[in-house]
């Protein structure tokens, strides 16, 4: 059964879309990751124009973050003050990002910039995850692993505008979370991701936040940043396809529920290793796309 996607302007099998949503949703359920960083490139592989994949995915992440954050709020795992500072940066960064996106689209360079951004980040994240899961497997075979220092002081702690974040038990410069939020906001606009895969490590290692509040706080600010991206992309580039987003969401909701159940029964390290391999596979396909000599050097696009 085919459905005509109004913004992507193509016909696609409805079960392919729901299936894709389900598969990525399941992965996010198992690993507790957002999934945007896999969904956007997979949509591009299926023939959805890259700008539409990015705009639509931002819209879908609004929904998945809302449903994710509620559970964290109930458990009190959201540092709202930290979230707001991150968000201030996120709004600035994503607004800048959408403007950059519109400019690159006009120049005909947006497709390749999206792909290169994914290659860079998927490559880094995939490699780190693979190394980390490899180490974890090694560690579980040996015993008595040593514990490193929790918190290190460096020049970052000398920055002005210090602020107290009670929930995170931190007294740091507000510029730090603002900067992290802004950087992730730019990526969110250009790549159609929530940015949790960068935000979470940055919160733990750069800001030194306790892991218990990291995921909830990250989700909290992702809702507003991706909502901002959804709105600005709708106005400036008309790349948000709610038909596509709705169908992906339908699959993702079911997939995530299955994933959470499966995830609790499986061994973590091996699974993380598998996810790392999957991430690297997607990255490799993107590298192939931009490096291999195209069949036709010319391409056409309808402007107006």
């Amino acid at each position: 059964m085919y459905v005509y996607l109004p913004i992507a302007e193509l016909s696609m099998n409805i079960f392919t879309i729901i299936g894709l949503g389900g598969a990525v949703g399941m992965l996010s359920g198992i690993f507790g990751v957002g999934g945007g960083f896999l969904m956007t490139p997979l949509l591009i592989f299926l023939g959805v124009p890259a700008p539409v994949a990015v705009g639509t995915e931002a819209n879908q992440i609004v929904a998945s973050s809302v449903s994710g954050v509620l559970a964290h709020f109930r458990r009190g795992n959201v540092d709202v003050k930290m979230g707001l500072v991150l968000l201030a940066g996120g709004l600035a960064g994503s607004t800048l990002g959408v403007a950059l996106f519109a400019l690159l689209r006009q120049l005909g360079q947006i497709e390749v910039v999206i792909k290169l951004s994914f290659i860079l980040f998927l490559g880094i994240i995939g490699s780190l995850m693979l190394i980390e899961s490899g180490r974890a497997i090694m560690r579980s075979r040996q015993s008595g692993a040593r514990r490193g220092k929790l918190h290190q002081h460096n020049w970052l702690h000398g920055l002005p505008f210090k602020m107290r974040f009670r929930k995170s038990k931190l007294y740091i410069s507000a510029l730090l979370p603002f900067g992290v939020g802004a950087l992730v906001g730019v990526l969110s606009a250009i790549m159609g991701v929530g940015g949790g895969f960068i935000m979470v490590p940055a919160m733990i290692y750069l800001l030194g936040m306790p892991t218990s509040v990291v995921v909830g706080t990250s989700l909290f600010q992702i809702i507003f940043v991706t909502a901002n991206v959804t709105f600005l992309q709708s106005v400036q580039t008309q790349t948000v396809d709610i038909m596509l987003a709705g169908l992906l969401l339908l699959g993702a909701v079911i997939g995530a529920q299955l994933g959470t159940r499966i995830g609790s029964k499986l061994r973590g390290e091996q699974l993380r290793g598998l996810l790392a391999l999957l991430v690297l596979l997607v990255c490799a396909k993107l590298v192939f796309d931009v490096v291999v000599t195209p069949e036709d050097l010319f391409s056409v696009e309808f402007l107006r």
């Binding site: 016909s11 819209n59 994710g68 709708s234 050097l297």
Partner: protein, 252 residues
């Protein structure tokens, strides 16, 4: 089934018209089974039947040219920059038909002289190739760009050249199918049916097809473009509601 019945009915009707018009010289009649194409939510493309009759056609040829609304099309050329293939040159071709199908009994260059084709604006070679001021292409044959444009548009199914696609029955009746792809652009389409004799156009018949977007997809597209801020806010509310409902439904 209904379509087959329609076809035979129409054929019979066309035959009748052609016989009754037999006394007049060079009478060409052509029509389509549908004058409107609706792009609905389940649209995957369609075929339109064009049929007609003409007086005495033992050595005559027929060509049908279907043209869609004019658009500006960007043609881009990639080159390798530090190992990565980037779009480095850009030509914006203005006033180009977004749809151009040529259907004929024999190839156009066999049917008529270059001069005839040019005067009647027939064939890919006779579509004006005008670039706007923003175009940025290096020195080199412009023919490469024209060829690339035609090649890429043919790949999308929006342009095509199909010699031999028109079937002529007992020198009087003819019929053909116009393939409408799923990526068709809405607007008015012109269908020109030309009757050639000895390399010259002796008769021409023009009709139009309306391609319209209908249904949910059409509404979504319209709102997204005409009321963009409203659409953006709606998309957010939709996502927040869906996310909240999902969380409530699966709360354990």
């Amino acid at each position: 089934m209904i379509r087959a019945l329609m076809t035979s009915l129409i054929t019979a009707l066309a035959l009748l018209i052609s016989v009754s018009a037999g006394f007049a010289q060079n009478r060409l009649v052509a029509d389509l089974d549908e004058k409107e194409v609706q792009i609905t939510t389940g649209f995957t493309g369609t075929e339109l039947l064009l049929f007609g009759a003409l007086d005495r056609a033992a050595v005559d040829d027929i060509a049908i040219i279907v043209t869609g609304p004019s658009k500006t099309i960007a043609v881009r050329r990639k080159s390798n920059v530090a190992g990565i293939w980037l779009n480095t040159e850009n030509a914006n071709v203005v006033g180009l038909p977004s749809f151009y199908h040529i259907l004929s009994t024999r190839p156009l260059d066999v049917i008529a002289s270059e001069n005839t084709l040019r005067i009647n604006k027939l064939g890919f070679d006779h579509i004006p190739f005008r670039l706007d001021a923003e175009s940025d292409i290096d020195e080199g044959p412009i023919e490469d760009w024209k060829a690339a444009l035609v090649r890429n548009l043919e790949k999308t199914g929006l342009w095509s050249n199909q010699p031999g696609k028109i079937k002529v029955i007992s020198n009087v009746l003819f019929r053909t199918d116009i393939t409408i792809p799923a990526n068709i652009i809405p607007g008015d389409y012109e269908v020109r049916t030309l009757h050639f004799r000895d390399g010259a156009v002796v008769e021409e018949n023009v009709s139009t097809i309306n391609v319209v977007k209908r249904g949910l997809s059409a509404e979504i597209y319209r709102i997204a473009h005409e009321y963009a801020p409203f659409y953006g806010i709606f998309a957010i509310i939709f996502a927040v509601t869906a996310g909240w409902l999902a969380a409530v439904a699966f709360r354990r």
